[in-house]
Amino acid sequence: MTPIVEIEGLSKKFGKRTAVDSLSLSIESGEIFGLVGPNGAGKTTTMRMLVTLLKPDKGEMRVGGYSVRKSPREVRRLLGFMPDTFGVYGDMTVWEYLDFFGACYKIPAPQRTALIRDLLELVDIAHRRDDTVDTLSRGLKQRLGLARVLIHDPSVLVLDEPASGLDPRARVEIRELLLEVARLGKTILFSSHILADVSELCTRVGIMEEGKLVALGTLDELGQRLTPHRLVRVAFLPTIEREEARAVLSRLPGVMEARRLDGLESADWPSLEIEFNGDDASLHRFLAAMLEQGLPVVRFSEETQNLEEVFLRATRGIVS
């Protein structure tokens, strides 16, 4: 796979505040790359520099081999950008809106007609084609924005908070739409505060904080790197006290830490979350040892790493 987006040593300052600090990143063709981070982490600034809107202080960016600094026009041809705010021409109909942006991308008028029809079908707003943009709901506007981004058939979509402000149904629909678009072979770079969206969509994730990329990789890689121990959740019958169970568990091999866990399945069950160091065979021995010690285990499960956990660990200590 060849990288379609390459960022090397990118830096940007606004006055004394460093918005982006020596950021290096490479995104391969066909990836869905999620950029997450707290507010002010530098996600939007990075995206705005990539789409030629903002001039970087330092660093180099290439899209499809073209330098963003030297060949902005070629880069614009390859990119489709959807900012976090939805720019509308309220007096235009949905059709006219797409036709206008199609013309801005120099698509000949005869081709635009069929293209817009197909795009409206894709984002499922063909029935609203003659309505003015102002009358659309936020979710439909976001779909229209996605159709706009796709109008010139770009290779890379740069989407800044595409699901921001949407109701749960609209969020799910946009997520499905993005997966559909990714199946068309597009590379997607998007930022989001909604970690569930990122974890369900992304092939890779970059976590930014204070302008720096503090973590990068697939969700599994990040999980292993940031939380190297396995997380095991155990619940007991209420015949044993939680502290008693914890004292027993702490002596067993492989147990790094046992923490109190509330609300696992039943409020009556004393539950513990255990950081365990070992392979699957060790885990099996750990379960057997618990039973040998006479602990009344009613539930035993290993937790997969979620992005929320990874995010909290990656940004721990810096975010107040």
């Binding site: 705005r48 903002l54 206008f100 010139h152």
Partner: protein, 328 residues
């Protein structure tokens, strides 16, 4: 890319005619999406209708007033050709001066929000990431505003034609006044566009445009006053230096006087009527020291056209620069 016209018959034939007569204009209109979008929006809006209504009503009422006043003075001589020509000139002059004033006021209204409103509606960034060049965006905004102003100017032709019925107005006056109107429209639209290109808010751009126009009018007034005050001393030459100074002052004041639309229009007419010359005027300087001599100054409309087109060109280039530069 130039696309050949097709689709509906009337629209198609209009496009064919436009294409055959003005290929460059056709290309500009058909290829620049901003012009089409802006014109469509403007003609759909109430603002477009009310602008046209206000423009025509103002000019009609003033013309009627001037016609009534002039006609009332010489009602006994209504069949006298000279008198009728004077009425014709008065009507024509009124319409042209009103049009110059209104075009200079409407121009910035149409363009001061052109780029700033894109920023306000958060569409500027969308446009800047497309293949639409900064030049196309600026020219599209300017072109659509000018197209609307030309609609206003042409819509007044029936009122102006009253002057042609009465006589007294020649082809030269018609052409010069039309040229001055076009140049005024181009300059004042460019002025609004310039402020719009680097100010973030439409209100700020509009205020800045009108402040500039006010200063221009005040400056024009000062020049007029200066000319009136220095007029008596202009020819009292006692030394060769005085004579040269007088000539220099004449040139400067004449040039400054020519850079105001109304004074340029009035004095172009004066030169045309009194000296029967469309292109220049004679200035005689009777100095006892350097001798009697005459020199020529171009008619005000020529200076006005050159200066305003040059300034408009600079303002357009600056607008393109401000639109083009990425944020820092």
């Amino acid at each position: 890319m130039t696309t050949q016209p097709s689709s509906r018959p009337i629209a198609s034939s209009l496009r064919s005619t436009l294409y055959s007569l003005f290929p460059a204009l056709y290309s500009l209109l058909s290829e620049n999406p901003v012009i089409r979008k802006e014109l469509r929006g403007r003609m759909r809006s109430r603002q477009g209708f009310f602008s046209l209504f206000f423009y025509l009503t103002t000019i009609s009422l003033w013309t009627l007033l001037i016609y009534s006043l002039v006609a009332a003075e010489g009602s006994y001589a209504r069949w006298d050709p000279d008198y009728r020509q004077n009425v014709g000139k008065a009507v024509f002059g009124t319409v042209v001066l009103l049009e110059l004033t209104l075009v200079s006021l409407f121009g910035p209204i149409l363009t001061s929000g052109a780029i700033a409103s894109e920023r306000e509606h958060q569409t500027f960034e969308l446009l800047r990431t497309t293949l639409l060049s900064a030049r196309s965006l600026v020219m599209g905004k300017l072109g659509s505003s000018l197209a609307f102003l030309f609609l206003l100017i042409f819509s007044v032709l029936p009122i102006q034609s009253i002057a042609f019925l009465l006589g007294g107005v020649g082809l030269a006056e018609l052409l010069v006044s039309s040229l001055m109107l076009v140049v005024t429209a181009v300059f004042f639209c460019s002025l609004g566009l310039f402020f719009s290109s680097f100010m973030k808010r439409t209100t700020g751009a509009t205020v800045a445009s009108y402040a500039t126009i006010l200063l221009t009018h005040m400056f024009g007034g000062c020049v007029f006053l200066g000319l009136a005050l220095t007029d008596t001393s202009l020819y009292s030459n006692t030394t060769p230096l005085d004579a040269l100074y007088t000539n220099f002052l004449n040139i400067v004041l004449w040039t400054l006087f020519s850079t105001h639309p109304l004074s340029a229009a009035i004095f172009s007419e004066v030169v045309l009527v009194e000296e029967q010359n469309l292109f220049y005027t004679n200035v005689a300087n009777n100095s006892s020291l350097i001798g009697s001599h005459t020199f020529y100054l171009p008619s005000p409309w020529i200076i006005f056209t050159l200066v305003y087109l040059l300034l408009a060109g600079i303002l357009i280039l600056l607008s393109v620069y401000f639109v083009k530069r990425p944020e820092r």
